[in-house]
């Protein structure tokens, strides 16, 4: 929590109301009801400056990048590379060339698995993930393990939803080739102690990939301070467009990794006798990139930095405390995930209704939550449920919306109770 409640504090009730007006979709009726959007862990809504940046790019700046000498191509290239600098600053990377643009966190993980992973993992090797991973941080490693005859091993968690760090230390051994772990669980909201995980792994000489899809929208990230080898995130969960994502990789890794996809833009020179490759990040950006997406992501970063990540984190921590109290205070509702360090997400189960029925009844009230396995089936198995209902927050949500969710859950009880 920032020190003062001074006047410059942006996320007062008035401040949030002002911010909400900058998200056009939040003012759009939903089945004749006011939209209450609590599915931010799936994707976030976009503020007008992001929408404007994409429109401006296509209206005034569109051309291919790194190709032409003409005015527009120069302009587009400049916008694209400035977006990279913006991401570099956001993540605290040492070099802009450590930022690779991808389609999203999923593609970033696949890129690392198919290059760094292929180089590093041999038969009998082990890759460590946690039980709370999203499928996108499980399946790429399973594919690699199948290809290499390697073994995927799983860090367990407590019933509260915290990783068992002692078990992690025991699982690390001389066969461990990589640790791939989520910063924040998309189901439990648990913030994992990644800095100490990275330190322990590095002490054993094991590199670490951090899945930041759920943390980057909510927390200040500093990859240099963390010391991680790779960090991935998705633009669309950070108030930017879909189809743009980020892979941060330490320069020495990116330089040593083979290219992933071949094509234009990733070469130094091509002949039929052989091809040499461009330096990172171009080496990993074959084909015309999502330029408008990068421009929109840069606008999203400017937008959240304009509010201040620290303010966002402080406001959201109040909001999640309120949400936990409201949801947890309803009899017959059980919150799944009680980690001490938890953000943005409240998963729950109701005695009287299946998550899909909960979400359906809330939908009639204009309230959008997610119901299902959240692309985390192994975690569902660990929790002993087939699915959960999940409310996930962003800085534009309000206490009133949480209270409306509470009333919606009472309505579910009226129908099924």
């Amino acid at each position: 929590m920032p020190a003062s409640e001074g006047q410059d504090r942006p996320l007062t009730a008035d401040g949030v109301a002002r911010i909400r007006r900058e998200f056009p979709i939040l003012g759009t009726p939903c089945r004749d009801k006011r939209l209450i959007y609590l599915d931010n862990a799936a994707t976030s809504q976009k503020p007008q400056p992001v929408i404007d940046a994409v429109t401006r790019y296509y209206s005034q700046q569109n051309a291919n990048v790194h190709r032409g000498v003409h005015y527009l191509s120069e302009l587009a290239t400049q916008e694209f590379e400035e977006a990279r600098l913006r991401v570099q600053r956001l993540l605290g990377a040492r070099l802009a060339s450590e930022i690779v643009f991808t389609r999203g966190a999923t593609e970033s993980i696949n890129l690392v698995a198919q290059t760094f992973g292929r180089q590093r993992v041999r038969a009998g090797g082990e890759i460590l993930v946690s039980v709370m991973e999203h499928h996108s941080n499980i399946v790429p490693w399973q594919l690699l393990c199948e290809e290499k005859g390697a073994v995927l091993r799983v860090i367990p968690m407590t019933d509260e939803g915290e990783l068992e760090i002692d078990a992690f230390a025991r699982l690390l051994n001389e066969r461990t080739r990589l640790v791939a772990i989520t910063h924040v669980s998309n189901v439990l909201g648990t913030v994992n102690p990644i800095k100490s995980i990275i330190d322990v792994a590095h002490a054993a000489g094991v590199p670490v990939l951090i899945d930041g899809a759920q943390s980057a929208p909510h927390l200040r990230i500093d990859v240099e301070d963390l010391g991680c080898d790779f960090f991935v995130c998705s633009g669309h969960k950070m108030f930017g467009p879909t189809g743009i994502g980020v892979l941060y990789g330490r320069a020495e890794h990116l330089e040593a990794m083979p290219p992933w996809q071949g094509g234009g833009g990733m070469i130094r020179s091509v002949s039929f006798e052989g091809t040499t490759y461009a330096a990172p990040p171009a080496k990993f950006e074959a084909g015309t990139p999502n330029i408008a997406g990068a421009v929109g992501l840069a606008a999203a970063i400017d937008y959240v930095e304009g509010i201040g990540m620290e303010w966002i984190a402080a406001y959201e921590s109040e909001l999640i405390a309120h949400a936990s109290a409201v949801i947890g205070g309803i009899s017959g509702v059980r919150i799944l995930g009680r980690a001490r360090n938890k953000i943005a997400v409240v998963s729950f189960a109701m005695d009287c209704a299946h998550p899909h029925d909960v979400a359906q009844i809330l939908d009639d009230e204009g309230i959008a939550i997610r119901a299902g396995h959240h692309c985390a089936q192994p975690l569902m198995a660990r929790l002993g449920v087939a699915a959960t209902a999940r409310a996930s927050l962003a800085f534009y949500n309000t206490r009133d919306e949480i209270d409306a969710l509470g009333r919606g859950l009472e309505k579910v009880k009226e129908v099924f109770g």
Binding site: H354, D357, Q360, H373, V415
Partner: protein
């Protein structure tokens, strides 16, 4: 957007809370498993066939109110029917919940005189199935409502097997 019909009618809530024939069957002639990977729903359908008729239908498993009530209603209306009759009821049920209102021509189903659209209504002993009609206004939930029926069809036609909605 037009107001949708209420999904959770009294019959559905009743069957979801107190599912009928919710039991395993020791002497089943056929059994099939149904999965909806999207929701994690899982049903086992049991059927005992005597001659050409369904003598008993039962189910176990877990799912949402729609999949459970649909399974429950199914087990109450099908006993006594021949396999052919059961399949015809399934076909009509499918039409009822998959053909959008006012879109009957494309769906190719019969419209009764005086009906606004949609398929012929279930009447008589099958009338309880009408409780699920508004599912057609909730396209995401159609798979929930059909899971039990597809699974039963697999049991009747193929003996024991597993079906999935994906």
């Amino acid at each position: 957007m037009a107001e949708r019909g209420a999904l959770y009618q009294q019959t559905i809530v009743d069957h979801a809370r107190n599912p009928r024939n919710f039991r395993a069957m020791d002497n089943a002639s056929a059994r099939a498993e149904g999965h909806n990977p999207l929701c994690g729903d899982h049903l086992s359908i049991y059927v005992r066939i005597e001659g050409d008729r369904l003598a008993d239908v039962a189910f176990t498993g877990s799912g949402c109110a729609i999949s459970k009530s649909s399974a429950s209603l199914m087990t109450t209306v099908l006993p006594g029917k021949t396999r052919t009759e059961a399949m015809a009821i399934f076909a009509q049920f499918l039409q009822m919940i998959t053909v959008a209102p006012g879109n009957t021509a494309e769906g190719g189903c019969a419209t009764l005189p005086g009906e606004e659209g949609g398929c012929a209504t279930f009447s008589g002993e099958l009338e309880t199935l009408e409780a699920l009609r508004s599912v057609r206004e909730y396209p995401v939930r159609v798979k929930c409502a059909t899971l039990a029926w597809h699974t039963l069809a697999a049991a009747i036609e193929g003996g024991s097997q597993t079906v999935t909605t994906e």
